[in-house]
Amino acid sequence: MKIAVCIKRVPDMETRFRIAASGTAVDEAGLKYDLSDFDGYAVETALQLNEKQGPGETVVISLGPDVVQEQLRKALSMGAERAVQLKADRVPTDGLSIARALAAELKDGGYDLIFFGRQAVDSANATVGPMVAEMLGLPCATAVSSLDISSGRGTARRDLEGAAEIVDFALPAVVTIDEGMPRARYPSLKGIMAAKKKPLEVRAAQLGDESLTLEKMELPPERAAGRIVGEGPGAVAELVRLLHTEAKVL
């Protein structure tokens, strides 16, 4: 099968972020970047599908400046065959513009499946996948936690709050990948070496106009440090008193 996986470069979410001087972006100094977690699952899912179902091709696509090549190379070192960078000075805030550029790239690719992460772990919009599906006129299964592909059809499980849905669709289709899918494999050195020789094409992203702009970014309010009331049963009375008088939750 020919599978495209759209991957996004995101900062390590464990970092203590600072807002840049512009006030509309995070300060990039000292940030470590990786694939968005769900996108890692998506690459892994694609690779396993092709490993299981015989000859196929996994193509990874990322939109952004040249640094996104790092993440593309990582996906190649995991085992993807080919990579495409849709070159842009920065990743737009507007998911619609990203979706437009991705759809233009994907349209004539002849893909059986197009994978997205359920959401990017940084911007958390969960919109790019569904919008691309809409533009390409393809069925779209979102937040999929298990997937079966056979004879031109897909069956996917979507874990919801308190319930699960099983959906069925015809290929080609767009699927956004959630937890529950296999974790991204650790690239072997052999894979890393092989990735250096795999094709990575660079094309200008056809973004179009942005319909949404970022006005301001701010940090969440600081949380006060926790307090240890005491240890053992002796501390219970004091804890209850504080929960009642100070926290006012009892």
């Binding site: 464990e14 000292g30 990786d34 650790y186 052999k190």
Partner: protein, 689 residues
């Protein structure tokens, strides 16, 4: 030349020819291996041969089997002179050593007799030990016991026939110069006066039996574990286990080499010739396995099996690679394993050492404690095999226990094995007025030492207290020092020991870049893993620093009287110190931590656990085991804690943050209240306020 001399000469030449054919064959198998530079430092290597091989230093670590083997070995060295005389005499009857000065010849004669008797006694004991005592370390790993019994029987036969020949010669000619042989002479007494024809006939029988036994023995060697008689001397010579250079340094892997597509080893032709020579040399004595912490706690790993499997695999694969298919039949004959199909050439070539002989599970159980290497009497380096196969697993196949994935990823992203924020690295030092290198450089100063804190000391709550204690000692002693703060990252040791050489080199290069930027000369650290890695392994990547472990550094400060103590001499305490593998067996630091404790607490009584110093047992954390689940058998740290608690000590002392975690957890698991402290905490507790 009489006819039997001629016959013997032909037999001798045939036997020698067959032996040299086999030696050739075994040497040719080494040609499938990778190169390894083991030259250089001939004097150190010769010294190792003298102490380890000739003086049997390691063999003698076993108080029972040690003297037994040493006697047989020394006996062999002495008796070989007699064997040569006998063989030459058989071909050229005129030949004998009697051209030697009489006193020397007499000395030689006496030594033959004496060692003949000693060897016979030792062989008798060896039989008794194998057949009656059944020592535990000679069991397991599918050993072929018949091998040892054949050899012991042959040695006994050699001694008996030697005495037979000598006694009969003396019975025939009591005035012969060989009468200096006391035992043979005594044995000859009852034979005197027997018909000469009978004596002559018996002499011929004993002589031929002895001579043929020698030749058979020689030719049996290449087919048995007794090949070590031939290969152990070169193996000890080429072994790095006793130096030259620091011990336990892992082979450098050039990741940028052109045209290299295999990293690590999955099979014998991806190993070095020294690894394969290890295989030839293993005597199957089990000394290694008997001290292995994984084996002792009921896990499948047996270092002996790793080496024997290397040999078994070499014997079946090398001939095929060299185009010799006749070995196939031999292999099927000797090992008798599998059905006909499984010994076909294709099946053998499809197999490999990893998975078909040695499982992933075995490899991941190793704590890299070096106990096996320390104990091996013939210079075998098990860790080269284990780490090289781990390298293949990680670098080629991305196979490792699932819980290791977050460890690798954190090391990559956060520069420590845990998902802590790198910005919090120096949090332990807040309010202590400890400068970072960057701050000092800004002020135009440079410190006397760099205190390398390590990931445990930076992030682990218990170990952070050690960082504070050590920093307080340095401050009290007035040592100008700095830390790297956020610029420090993991030294890479866990990654390297787990086979992830790529990640290791990335981290190590980054640290070397930082250390070079600050022109650091002297580093002090309380983590033996950082200590070993930066001091002994960074030189492979061009990082050369003087690295001192805090035990040594504090001892020096105490010796120089630079640490201001309270007048209180401290309570009387009974203390047991647990040796860290990377401090002890890797770096021979045994006395500094003990001396530090003694100086800090003048009335302390040190007690030693049964396994101590170079025989100390691992806490279970090394080799990346800290980050893996321990699912099989008893927990190593609990076993070690029991050993330490059995000393009855009031307090346990360690000199490694990993040991701290493991031993504390082990003590807790035993519901014991005995406290565990780092040596620096003991010293800091006595600092003048």
């Amino acid at each position: 030349m009489r006819i039997e001399n001629a016959v013997f000469l032909i037999v001798l030449l045939l036997a020698a020819g067959f032996f040299s054919y086999n030696v050739q064959r075994l040497l040719s198998y080494l040609s499938i291996a990778l190169p390894d530079d083991r030259g250089g430092h001939p004097l150190v290597r010769l010294k190792n041969v003298i102490t380890v091989a000739f003086l049997q230093k390691k063999i003698l670590r076993d108080p029972v089997a040690g003297p037994m083997h040493a006697l047989i070995f020394w006996g062999f060295c002495v008796l070989t002179a007699g064997t040569i005389e006998l063989l030459l005499h058989g071909s050229f009857p005129a030949f004998s050593y009697d051209f030697l000065p009489t006193s020397l010849y007499q000395f030689y004669s006496i030594s033959q007799d004496l060692f003949g008797a000693l060897v016979l006694g030792a062989v008798a004991f060896a039989f008794y030990r194998r057949l009656v005592l059944h020592p535990e370390r000679l069991e397991g790993d599918n050993l072929e016991h018949s091998d040892a019994l054949i050899i012991l029987g042959a040695i006994a036969g050699l001694m008996v026939t030697m005495f037979g020949v000598n006694a009969i010669e003396l019975a025939l000619d009591p005035e012969s110069i060989t009468r200096a042989k006391p035992l043979s002479f005594a044995l000859s007494m009852p034979l005197r006066g027997l018909p000469i024809g009978l004596l002559n006939g018996a002499h011929a029988v004993f002589w031929w039996a002895h001579a043929l036994l020698v030749l058979a023995f020689l030719n049996f060697l290449p087919y048995s574990k007794h090949l070590h008689i031939v290969s152990s001397i070169p193996n000890v010579y080429f072994s790095n286990s006793q130096g030259p250079g620091p011990k336990g340094v892992i082979r450098f892997l050039d990741l940028e080499a052109e045209n290299v597509e295999q990293f690590g080893a999955a099979d014998v032709d991806q190993m070095t010739w020294k690894d394969l020579l290890d295989g030839y040399t293993c005597t199957e004595c089990g000394r290694c396995t008997s001290v292995c912490p994984a084996h002792l706690t009921g896990k499948v790993l047996s270092p002996r099996k790793i080496i024997i499997d290397t040999r078994r695999r070499l014997m079946e694969k090398a001939p095929l690679l060299l185009g010799d298919y006749s070995e196939l039949a031999h292999h099927a004959l000797v090992h008798g394993e599998g059905d006909e199909g499984s010994t076909s050439a294709t099946a053998i070539l499809e197999h490999r050492l990893l998975d078909n002989f040695i499982t992933e599970e075995e490899l991941w159980q190793c704590t890299t404690c070096r106990a096996c290497i320390q104990e091996c009497p013939v210079g075998i380096e098990h860790l080269d095999h284990i780490v090289d196969m781990r390298r293949n697993l990680v670098l080629m196949e991305s196979r490792f226990p699932p819980e290791v994935l977050p460890t690798f990823e954190s090391m990559e992203r956060n520069g420590s094995p845990w998902a802590f924020r790198p910005d919090d690295r120096a949090k332990w030092a807040e309010g202590m007025d400890i400068p970072t290198m960057a701050e000092l450089v800004e002020r135009g100063e440079s410190p006397e030492i760099l205190f390398w804190v390590g990931c445990m000391g930076s992030f682990d709550d218990r170990s952070k207290k050690i960082s504070v204690a050590f920093a307080r000692i340095l401050q009290a002693a007035g040592v100008p020092f700095a830390i790297l703060g956020q610029e420090e990252t993991c030294n890479g040791d866990p990654a390297r020991r787990m086979g992830n050489e790529y990640l290791y080199q990335t981290l190590a290069k980054q640290n070397i870049e930082t250390l070079t930027r600050y022109d650091v000369k002297t580093i002090v650290t309380f983590c033996p893993h950082c200590f070993h890695q930066i001091g002994n392994e960074y030189p492979q990547l061009g990082g050369n620093y003087e690295v001192i472990h805090h035990s040594t550094y504090i001892e020096r400060l105490l010796e120089a009287g630079r640490v201001p103590f309270d007048t209180d001499a401290g309570k009387t305490l009974t203390m047991a110190y647990h040796d860290s593998c990377y401090l002890g067996r890797y770096n021979d630091v045994y006395d500094a931590p003990r001396e530090t404790l003694r100086r800090a607490l003048p009335i302390v009584t040190m007690v030693e656990p049964e396994r101590t110093r170079d025989r100390g047992m691992c806490c279970g954390a090394g080799g990346g085991r800290m980050f893996m689940e321990e699912t099989q058998g008893k927990r190593i740290n609990v076993e070690r804690a029991e050993q330490l608690l059995a000393t009855g000590a009031d307090m346990l002392a360690v000199a490694c943050p990993f040991c701290m975690t493991m031993i504390s957890d082990g003590v807790k698991a035993k519901d014991s209240e005995v406290p565990v402290f780092d040596i620096s905490e003991v010293v800091a507790s006595r600092l003048r306020a």
